[in-house]
């Protein structure tokens, strides 16, 4: 019986299957192995990137503050009294007088005020010249004190406790961003300044705190320690607003028309092919286009978020059109036929029945498109947004930079020791904004899908 089965045709097939089975299992295992390896590699690179950015960036969220008691010495602050509103007949006259007074205040040597308070904070008998002493505090300290005085001229003669930023070089020394073992010639700060900083750290005059300045200040070159992201953040927000306001309605409308209403013809085929091609055009090309069309032809201002927003809109449009068309295509024909069968018009069918179903997909595609536009840098460089802007854009027509461009600019700053961490910090902020946007996309999608 046994030999019978062995020689039967069925047994031969079973043998063949069994021997090939091993081979097939092996190939499956190899494939799975490659898959796991690919995932491990991809995750490994992402982890490496994040660890590197976080390791460099986290220390930049700590800033060194100098706690000083500043005396508004009338001998240094020798100005006429501030003009009062009731002394002038018209608002314009008062504004002019007030500006003239502010100019007078600005021309005073406010560094003397800072120097005096630094000297007071230093231990008695410290021998240090004024330039070395001032190198400890960031250069914006004098503007900070001046602005306090302009806002409240009654401070004259009084002493106030304030926190000013330690200079970028002082922060480098405290954090050890610069090698503390190097000799005098290779250090940025003179020996007496370094010794005094260490004394200040020991006696608590210099304390570390969270670097709010990154979020509340605009970019700064003259006071690097005070450089922040507020201006770039505002610029990015304006651009995103323009992208959402323009790209979403235009993109969705175009997709609905092409998918639901347009007759199938050579022309619509051509349009479809072109939209798909547009989605693959490198972003730098949109930048060139933007510079040529919006700036040179339409005479829109350079470095302005409106141009950036328009360029990014062009870039995002194909993505949104394609995603929306895909979503519309996925709606079951039964839904359409049921609507039409109940006597609904085409428009009613699309807007009352088809579109609401696709809403979650369209929303997700939009947010992902916007997130993509958020990180886009190349086209912005070509429309003049790669400029140093030290103000917050109040309108989309004001000059501004964007978050990714700010990263690019900080990366090029000459104070490497200070700006390398700060660049990593800026990257972390940009990543956080992106993750937030993607999180909102996922949240909205899951909520809307449940409802639908």
């Amino acid at each position: 019986m046994a030999t019978d089965t062995l020689n039967s045709p069925g047994a031969a097939r079973a043998r063949a299957v069994r021997s090939s089975l091993r081979r097939r299992h092996l190939s499956e295992q190899i494939f799975r192995g490659f898959g796991i390896l690919a995932i491990a590699l991809a995750l490994g690179f992402v982890v490496l990137l994040f660890v590197d950015v976080f390791r460099k960036g986290i220390p930049a969220f700590v800033q060194s503050n100098l706690h000083l008691s500043v005396t508004f010495d009338p001998e240094i602050i020798d100005v006429s009294p501030a003009p009062a509103r009731n002394g002038f007949a018209t608002e314009a006259e008062f504004t002019a007088a007030s500006l003239a007074w502010q100019r007078e205040v600005a021309l005073l040597n406010w560094n003397q005020v800072i120097e005096a308070s630094l000297r007071q904070a230093a231990p008695a008998g410290t021998d240090i010249d004024s330039r070395t002493l001032l190198s400890i505090a960031e250069t914006n300290a004098r503007h900070q004190v001046r602005e306090m005085f302009v806002a409240n001229p009654t401070l004259l003669g009084q002493t106030v406790e304030i926190d000013v930023l330690a200079s970028a070089n002082a922060a480098n020394w405290i954090k050890g961003n610069i090698n503390r073992e190097l000799g005098d010639a290779q250090q940025q700060l003179a020996a007496p300044a370094r010794a005094l900083i260490d004394t200040f750290v020991d006696n608590g005059t210099i304390s570390n705190g969270f670097a709010w300045s990154i979020f509340t200040n605009v970019d700064s070159r003259s006071a690097p320690a005070a450089a922040g992201l507020l201006g770039a953040f505002a610029g990015t927000m304006w651009m995103m607003l323009i992208v959402i306001v323009l790209a979403v309605p235009i993109g969705v409308a175009a997709a609905i028309y092409l998918e639901e209403f347009a007759p199938k013809s050579r022309l619509t085929d051509l349009i479809e092919v072109n939209i798909n091609n547009l989605a693959a055009v490198p972003s730098i090309v949109f930048g060139l286009l933007g510079a040529a069309v919006f700036i040179n032809w339409f005479h829109l201002p350079i470095s302005a978020p409106i141009v950036g927003g328009l360029v990014l809109t062009l870039m995002t449009l194909p993505t949104i059109i394609i995603a929306t068309r895909g979503a519309l295509m996925g709606v079951s024909p039964a839904l359409r036929q049921a609507a039409l069968g109940m006597g609904a018009s085409r428009t009613q069918m699309v807007f009352h029945h088809v579109l609401p179903v696709t809403f979650p997909s369209i929303l997700t595609a939009t947010i992902l498109g916007v997130a993509h536009a958020l990180g886009e840098t190349a086209p912005l460089l070509l429309i003049g947004m790669k400029a140093f802007v030290a103000s917050v854009p109040a309108t989309p027509l004001d000059q501004a930079t964007a978050l990714p461009v700010q990263i690019f600019l900080w990366q090029g700053n000459e104070n490497r020791n200070f700006f390398e961490p700060r660049t990593a910090a800026a990257i972390m902020v940009l990543l956080a904004v992106m993750i937030l946007l993607n999180g909102v996309a996922i949240f909205l999608r899951s909520r809307l899908e449940k409802r639908a």
Binding site: F298, H299, F388, A390, P396, E414, N415
Partner: protein, 341 residues
């Protein structure tokens, strides 16, 4: 859904309206672009200017290199063109012609100080003491050996001169969009070429080619900022980079400077004219924009004031080598007189 559509349509209409309205509105922010050497100085002035002149907006300072800045400057007159081009060299005749052709006829040159160009290498590497002749021999495509031009045979610095370190030749120099390149060519390479003595019987074109053609294998042209040059040095510690003196001074912990003709570049040696590779820094102001863009004249006056670009001013602290006060006074006077050629 319908209301959402109407709302978006209204917003689009509004945006379009806002855009057209913008045409009529004149720009009230000074727009600057150009040399990356001048950029840090100009940015500092921009910030301090807005602190001292509360009625004006903070000027916007872009980069792009001297060549890029001047070509933007020469695009024409009007709101969408820049007001000031920063330059680390003087404007060329060709650029002036391009300007004139585009209607930019009132170009006012302002020189505000000096900068040294230095050769720097990794702080951990050996010391370099260079001469223009050695640099020329290191990078020229063809060098003079026994009175004839031959392909450059040198691979190590020590082959050029025994006093130089035994290290492969690699030099990162600014690309031609930077004004620094022209100064490097003129003050270093051409000087070295002349010292080497050109062989007899060459045509003018051949001479010029011998003077300006570099070996592509050891010369790295950097079109970005000095940080890009620094990144090159970090990735290949054998590289010698060309930097601005002010950049080097802020990175003395990672860079070591080379002497040229035995002189170490410092603010003092450049100011005294002892260090050979230095150049004046400029910015060019579009005269036709004065009185149109608010604050333009005040910006120039503020830039040239004693406390800013003078001795002991804020720019000196940032690495600028100030020019004598009399020179500044003359330049300011000719700027205000509108001395356009």
């Amino acid at each position: 859904m319908k209301t959402a559509l109407f709302a978006s349509a209204a917003v689009i209409a509004l945006a379009a309206f806002g855009t057209t309205a913008a045409f009529a509105q004149s720009r009230d922010t000074i727009q600057v672009a150009g040399s990356s050497t001048v950029l840090p100085f100009a940015s500092i002035v921009a910030e301090e200017f807005s602190a001292s002149f509360p009625e004006f907006k903070t000027p916007v300072v872009g980069s792009g290199g001297t060549g890029g800045g001047l070509s933007q400057f020469c695009e024409g007159v009007g709101d969408n063109t820049i007001d000031i081009a920063n330059a680390s060299r003087q404007i060329r005749d060709g650029e002036r012609e391009a300007c004139t052709a585009a209607g930019v006829t009132d170009i006012r040159e302002v020189q505000f100080g000096f900068d040294g160009i230095v050769f720097a290498s990794s702080a951990n590497g050996p010391d370099f003491a260079l001469t223009p002749l050695q640099v020329y021999k290191a990078i020229a495509a063809q060098v003079v050996v026994d009175g004839a031009l031959v392909d450059n045979p040198y691979t190590n610095w020590s082959e050029i001169d025994p006093s130089l370190p035994d290290q492969p030749i690699a030099l990162a120099i600014p690309a031609s969009n930077h004004g620094t390149r022209e100064v490097f060519q003129e003050k270093v390479v051409s000087a070295g070429f002349e010292e080497a003595g050109a062989p007899e019987g060459l045509s003018e074109e051949e001479l010029e080619a011998a003077e300006t053609t570099f070996r592509q294998d050891v010369v790295i042209e950097i079109s970005g900022d000095y940080t890009e040059t620094l990144a090159r040095l970090n990735s290949d510690p054998n590289t010698v980079g060309v930097f601005g003196l002010s950049f080097y001074e802020q990175n003395t912990d990672t860079l070591k400077v080379a002497t040229v003709d035995g002189v170490e570049p410092t603010k003092a040696t450049v100011a005294a004219g002892e260090y050979p590779v230095s150049r004046p820094l400029f910015f060019y102001v579009k005269g036709q924009h004065i009185g149109v863009i608010p604050g333009l004249e005040e910006y120039v006056q503020y830039f040239l004031s004693e406390g800013v670009s003078g001795e002991g001013g804020i720019l000196e602290a940032a690495g600028l080598i100030p020019q004598p006060a009399e020179t500044t006074a003359e330049i300011l006077a000719s700027f205000e007189a509108g001395a356009a050629q």
